[in-house]
């Protein structure tokens, strides 16, 4: 082990972020730049009779007003779906709609003007004649709405998916001592990244090269999609740059219509064109998250053994399928229903539906939080049914450490784990026995104190490409990692992963510094520019370190291999006798540390090429495409204490303890930051957030005046700890930390509130647990009195 991995190095990115000097797409100004604004539908569902653009075109300063017909005339292709499960019906969608709009915010026309003010003035002058239609709303209700979102897709069901051991499930429920049932809603969320989406495009009419700056989590992947499907600009003539990006949370994975409209307009007008989303626009155009309706039941024995789990879920995809939308409620959801537990009979079934709402795709955790929420709510209800402590009940069902690798009944094979150790640490960190004693006393005083527990699993680091292909993926899921050692011994690292807040510039420096025994300041990380990074898959699914980091380790090994050969040659030693000293970066003859060549000397020698071993080419750079052998399986045990205000229903989080096992840790400070930020986001779902559409399909939580984001004052100081069970199948032994906090905190907090209300007989309240909902439940439980 080297000297930088495991250290809480300060993030090299932070000085520019903290001082407001990040380089975001919206900061970019090009000579002669024009501004694009988008006319969006005010209706959830309507027929477009006509679009009159004449008044807008006549406005001084307007360069062009375009509709969907202009794009069709130009041969612009439909947006593809990149995850195709069997029998899927994929609705056709274009960047601008021609005949029908299908959600509030759907795209109808664009204006390009000399200033954004003029562009927005012109939008108001576009006259669209609509015939409003009834809207289909609700993940399950849309199937019976009597309104088709797309005429060719019956019952508004785009796809279905099921997996599990049906016979074992049937046996478990037939032989169960108790069956615990739960109907729940995992509500829709709006991602609300700090930086709204933006795009700038510049066309070079002479070289026919297009440069597109865009707020993407995966610029290389988006380039492939634009080249192959939508604008069909040849890939070698299309450069995508995603510079500093202010958060994504999944909402910046998809290829968006604006990434078609902006470059198309730039080429059409031969002017650089810029579009920056407003916050209101983001609420009706960024992909949203979750939105499941679920009926689930758990089969248990009197001794506390869980034997079966049966889940039916209706997942709303919105009006169109976003790029990997069908992946989220299928292979990222049902496959996670085993949780941390040995449950022989699991079967999951889902319906992927369409509705007249904004599209839904990956959102931090993406399917896995939904799975953990189902499992962990049921585990609590089952423990309650048997009068068992929720931790005791869970421990009875944890997969034993000696059973790894563990094959679940729902396709996945967990790589490694020590869940008993995880829970032991959580009990220790929280002083769980004392928490329960304090709770008993508080209850005697009439206070509604609750303690919530959840143990969660994640499949992160997607994914072996062959597995992705078998599950419906159109692409592979490898990552690229290249190392360019310069003649002066400095190092440039190229990664296909993309940092939009995660701190890759720091973490990857630590990884590479230890590979070479050099100072991290001698290394720069390059990402996000397809002119520099030829191919890459981007960042999502907590994959950057386990997949992208592993690619860098492999490239470093190749570089070291060449350096060892070169050192042996220069020292006139046998290559087999060479040793690498990670502390100094020297290659030396075994047993003779003074007979050595330094990293810098070898780099220089590789480029002067005055004396190379026979057959060795000059230069010192290596590439790797790393295809992971499996997912990694981070896991967590979280415990929280809440108090419910009996008079108002308001909830206060008093204590929060998080133990996460994310395998080996490169930078503990960054890992804690990811855990804490993730917890805040998951608590947001539990207590505050929720996209609400009315029956007509209007988004009534379309601004931050109405959509409740988590805020710092809603949290106590979060206490974190970890256990370390390395992943056995990647060279760093890392698992992934980006989503674990979000997955675990949602059920932890809901379980805590339900525990507080348990003496009143309240079993379940759907999220978000607003004061009014909690008050109503208390009130109902009290029979209308206090």
């Amino acid at each position: 082990m080297g000297s930088y991995i495991g250290k809480s190095m300060k993030r090299v990115e932070d000085p520019r972020f903290i001082q407001g000097k990040g380089r975001y797409v919206a900061n970019l100004t090009l000579p002669g730049m024009a501004y694009l604004a988008i006319k969006r539908s005010p209706y959830a569902h309507a027929k477009i009779n006509s679009i009159d653009t004449s008044a807008a075109e006549a406005l001084d300063g307007v360069l062009g007003v375009f509709t969907g017909q202009d794009l069709l005339n130009d041969g612009v292709g439909a947006l593809p779906c990149g995850w195709q499960v069997p029998n899927i019906k994929i609705p056709v969608q274009y960047a601008l709609q021609v005949d029908k709009v299908r959600h509030v915010g759907d795209r109808v026309a664009i204006v390009v003007a000399e200033s954004p003010y003029i562009a927005y003035d012109a939008l108001d002058l576009i006259e669209v004649d609509y015939d409003p239609l009834p809207a289909a709303i609700g993940a399950k209700a849309t199937m019976e709405a009597g309104v088709l979102v797309h005429d060719e897709i019956a019952d508004n069901v785009s796809y279905t998916w099921e997996i599990g051991d049906m016979a074992a499930r049937n046996k478990a429920f037939a032989e169960a001592d108790h069956i615990v049932e739960l109907d729940l809603i995992n509500q829709r969320l709006i991602a609300t990244a700090m930086e709204p989406r933006a795009a700038v495009a510049q066309w070079n009419e002479f070289t026919e090269e297009m440069t597109l700056w865009t707020t993407s989590q995966n610029p290389n992947l988006t380039r492939v999609v634009i080249s192959a499907f939508t604008l069909q600009i040849p890939e070698h003539k299309l450069r995508l740059i995603s510079p500093d990006v202010g958060g994504g949370f999944g909402s910046k994975i998809p290829h968006y219509p604006e990434e078609i409209l902006v470059p198309w307009a730039a080429r059409r007008l031969n002017r650089p064109v810029k579009w920056v989303s407003t916050r209101s626009e983001a609420a009706v155009s960024d992909t949203q998250g979750r939105d499941h309706v679920t009926k689930a039941r758990l089969a248990i024995k009197n001794d506390g053994t869980v034997t079966g789990l049966d889940v039916n879920t209706w997942a709303d995809n919105g009006a169109y399928l976003s790029i990997v939308a069908p992946l989220i409620p299928t292979a990222f959801y049902i496959t996670l229903l085993s949780g941390l537990y040995k449950i022989p009979g699991i079967y999951g079934n889902m319906w992927g539906t369409l509705s007249n709402t904004v599209w839904v795709d990956a959102y931090r955790g993406a399917g896995r939080p939904e799975a953990s929420y189902v499992v962990e709510r049921l585990m609590d209800l089952a423990a309650q049914k048997l009068n068992m402590d929720p931790i005791e009940f869970r421990k009875k069902n944890l997969i034993p450490a000696e059973d790894f690798p563990y094959q679940t009944p729902v396709a996945l094979q967990y790589d490694s784990g020590n869940y008993q150790g995880l829970f032991a640490e959580a009990e220790d960190l929280s002083n769980y026995a004392q928490l329960r004693a304090d709770q008993a006393k508080a209850r005697q005083d009439g206070r509604l104190i609750g303690i919530g527990v959840a143990g969660c699993i994640e499949a992160s680091g997607p994914a072996p490409s062959a597995v992705a292909g078998a599950l419906g993926g159109v692409t592979g899921f490898w990552e690229s990692g290249s190392i360019r050692v310069h003649a002066t011994g400095k190092v440039t690292v190229l990664t296909g992963a993309h940092s939009h807040g995660q701190g890759h510039d720091t973490t990857f420096r630590q990884i590479v510094a230890d590979q070479f025994g050099i100072n991290p300041n001698d290394i720069d990380i390059s990402h996000g520019d397809t002119a520099v990074i030829t191919n890459g898959m981007g960042t999502y699914g907590s994959r950057s370190t386990s997949v992208g980091g592993s690619a860098l380790v492999r490239s470093a090994e190749k570089v070291r291999g060449k350096m060892a050969k070169l050192a042996a040659h220069l020292l006139e030693a046998d290559e087999a006798d060479m040793a690498f000293d990670a502390a100094t970066g020297n290659f030396h003859v075994k047993g003779s540390p003074d007979k050595a060549k330094s990293f810098g000397e070898l780099a220089f020698a590789a480029y002067t090429a005055h004396s190379l071993p026979a057959g060795m080419e000059p230069g010192l750079e290596e590439d790797t495409y790393y295809d992971p052998a499996n997912f990694t399986y981070p896991n967590s045990a979280h415990i929280a204490q809440v108090e419910v205000d009996r008079e108002t229903g308001q909830i206060t989080i008093q204590k929060y303890f998080a133990v996460d096992d994310v395998g080996n840790v490169i930078n503990p400070m960054i890992v804690r930051g990811q855990v804490v930020g993730g917890i805040a986001q998951g608590v947001g779902q539990a207590l505050w957030e929720g996209a609400q559409y009315d029956s007509g399909g209007q988004l009534v939580t379309g601004s931050l005046l109405d959509y409740t984001m988590p805020r710092a004052d809603g949290f106590p100081m979060i206490q974190t700890s970890r256990t370390v069970t390395p992943s056995p199948h990647n060279p760093l032994g890392v698992k992934g930390v980006g989503e674990m906090g979000t997955i675990a905190s949602t059920p932890t907090i809901v379980n805590a509130v339900m525990d507080a209300l348990a003496p009143l007989g309240v079993k379940h309240i759907d999220m978000p647990l607003t004061a009014e909902k909690v008050y109503a439940a208390i009130h109902a439980a009290n029979g209308g009195g206090h």
Binding site: P116, Y117, A119, Y120, D121, D124, T278, R279, S280, E647, T648, Q650, W688, Q692, V700, T701, S703, L704, L705, D706, Y707, T708, M709, T770, A771, E772, Y775, A776
Partner: protein, 280 residues
């Protein structure tokens, strides 16, 4: 966020501001924290803005007659003031977030008369006087309806006057906060004078749940002359129901009218209890 086109004027005096608005139409611009967002959303198109932000109407001064708060005084300044009655600094400190409190002004807030705003409830309780560049208006007469005040077109608020908190007197503000906007879903303000454990004067108002802040006369009547203990406070707070017309109570996705109505006595009681504790 790109507002529609507007003309901009900067006034050198309150009377010039009035003349400019009378000449050009449009709106006064102070802190801009209510006006600018609706312009950016293109929900408002005032055509002209008359900037009063640099007029000499900022700051808090005390005299024998009480406390005067300049119309351009920010919420943050009121929150930090030890001179204003406690209920007022407490309410100002619960407005929005630090950014809003550092920009938003007292005059702009009450001129806007948002039903979910905190200050009208407190000013009603404190029997404040709203001073304009033409007259002085008691708070009871100033707030007329939803987003409607007694101000004439072009009339400008210059300051707000309140009496200093007297001997044996305490005040408090309690609110059921909208978790998204941090406006009040229910706000309750109380000022109570206590002598020998008996309430000798009480002023109470509720807001957030009605189109305009509402004086809780029934609560006041139930308190004055009574010994103060948890039972009498709860009984008095419960009387707020008599001051609320159920048909008037506002509801939205964050809190139904029914829930707000049920919460009114809770927050009135909490404000009362804190005010009483501060009176001694």
């Amino acid at each position: 966020m790109y507002p529609p086109k507007f003309d901009y004027y900067r006034a050198a005096s309150p009377d010039e501001a009035t003349a400019l608005v009378q000449e050009h139409g449009g709106k006064f611009l102070a802190g801009g924290h209510s006006l600018i967002p609706v312009m950016n959303l293109r929900l408002a198109d005032p055509g002209a803005l008359v900037d009063i932000g640099r007029l000499d109407m900022k700051g808090i001064s005390t005299s024998s007659s009480g406390v005067t708060i300049g119309a351009l005084t920010t919420h943050a300044m009121v929150a930090a003031s030890g001179d204003v009655p406690t209920a007022l600094s407490e309410a100002a400190g619960k407005i929005g977030d630090p950014q809003v409190r550092n920009r938003g002004t007292v005059g702009g807030n009450i001129a806007h008369a948002d039903p979910a705003s905190d200050l009208p409830t407190v000013l009603l309780t404190l029997k404040a006087t709203i001073n304009t560049n033409g007259r002085s208006i008691p708070a009871d007469d100033f707030f007329v309806d939803l987003f409607t005040t007694a101000l004439d077109e072009g009339e400008i608020i210059t300051s707000v006057s309140v009496a200093s908190e007297g001997a044996n007197t305490g005040s408090a503000y309690a609110k059921l906060v909208n978790p998204a906007s941090r406006y009040a879903m229910v706000g309750a303000a109380a000022q109570v004078t206590v002598q020998n454990g008996v309430c000798t004067a009480a002023s109470v108002a509720v807001g957030g749940l009605t189109p305009k802040a509402t004086r809780a006369s029934s609560v006041e009547a139930a308190l004055v002359g009574q010994p103060l203990n948890s039972d009498t406070l709860a009984a008095a707070a419960a009387a707020v129901t008599n001051d609320l017309d159920p048909d008037d109570i506002l509801g939205d996705i964050h809190a139904s009218a029914e829930y707000r109505q049920q919460m009114a006595p809770v927050f009135v009681r909490r404000a009362l209890a804190t005010a009483v504790s501060r009176a001694s």
